[in-house]
């Protein structure tokens, strides 16, 4: 199972950023996101996986598709990337990954930790945590997030208006 998930994450990620057709890129993104949800399920984070599928696969990707269709012009799929930029991108990506990877590897032996058979986080725990105000309570971020979403809605409205 792990192999499938890992491979699909890697492959779809790469394809999402290398394909020349923008709509396909969105599709590969969808697959990569779904594979991510697979990781969450493997970790026994059912709720997280479900959210991932609902929000990302169901919401964001659809948003992308709409946006692509809105801005899409037939025959302009092909992206001509200059080689200079490609090298730059590869270099930056590799350097970043290398640095993060090196940092992780060098941090003791914790990379070799294996999965302890943790249990699923029950829904009611999540609900309680989100609404509790004490230590490890997430009421405030939750409220703040709602403010953020409100702000984004207003922002969206402002931008979307014709005038």
């Amino acid at each position: 199972m792990y192999v499938i998930i890992a491979l699909s994450i890697v492959i779809f990620s790469i394809m999402a950023v290398t394909t020349k057709k923008i709509l396909r890129a969105a599709t590969y993104l969808l697959f990569a996101l779904l594979a991510t949800a697979g990781v969450y399920f493997q970790m026994d984070y059912q709720f997280l996986g479900a959210t991932q599928i609902a929000v990302y696969a169901g919401g964001v990707v659809v948003l992308f598709v709409f946006a692509i269709l809105l801005t899409h012009k037939p025959g302009k799929d092909a992206e001509a990337l200059t080689s200079h930029k490609k090298v730059q991108g590869v270099l930056a990506a590799v350097a970043c990954v290398a640095l993060c990877g090196f940092a992780l590897l060098s941090f003791g032996r914790f990379c070799l930790k294996t999965l302890e058979g943790g249990a699923d986080v029950p829904m009611d725990t999540i609900g309680t945590t989100l609404l509790s105000t004490g230590s490890d309570g997430y009421l405030l971020p939750f409220e703040a997030l709602s403010v953020l979403l409100l702000a984004c809605i207003i922002a969206g409205v402002v931008i979307a208006r014709r005038r």
Binding site: Y2, V17, Y45, C96, K113, T114, T129, L148, A155
Partner: protein, 103 residues
């Protein structure tokens, strides 16, 4: 086969790297945004992984991922709105054309 943290971290990091690569090379702004999604997603995976593998006593990482997904969605929404907004007047979404302001 024991699944170690590293084995999960590698795809996540590759995802992040792909995101960076895409963001730096894609001409189409929506494609750049897709790359950004990859980056954000990779971070979410990290949080979940660390929580599960190392600190399974609490749920901070998982909850962070949860919130991050919401934030990412909001970001995407605003970004897409703005891209479309630009598209309306510039009639394209090529990032290389969006450079009237410089020096």
């Amino acid at each position: 086969m024991k699944l170690t943290l590293l084995m999960y971290l590698i795809p996540s990091l590759i995802m992040f790297g792909c995101g960076i690569y895409g963001f730096l090379t894609r001409k189409n702004m929506i494609a750049m945004l897709i790359s950004l999604e990859l980056m954000l997603n990779a971070v979410d995976i990290n949080f979940a992984l660390f929580n599960r593998f190392l600190y399974s006593g609490n749920h901070e990482g998982m909850l962070f991922s949860l919130f991050a997904i919401a934030i990412a969605a909001a970001e995407t929404a605003v970004a897409i709105a703005i891209i479309i907004n630009v598209y309306r007047i510039a009639k394209n979404v090529d990032i290389n054309q969006i450079n009237k302001l410089k020096f």
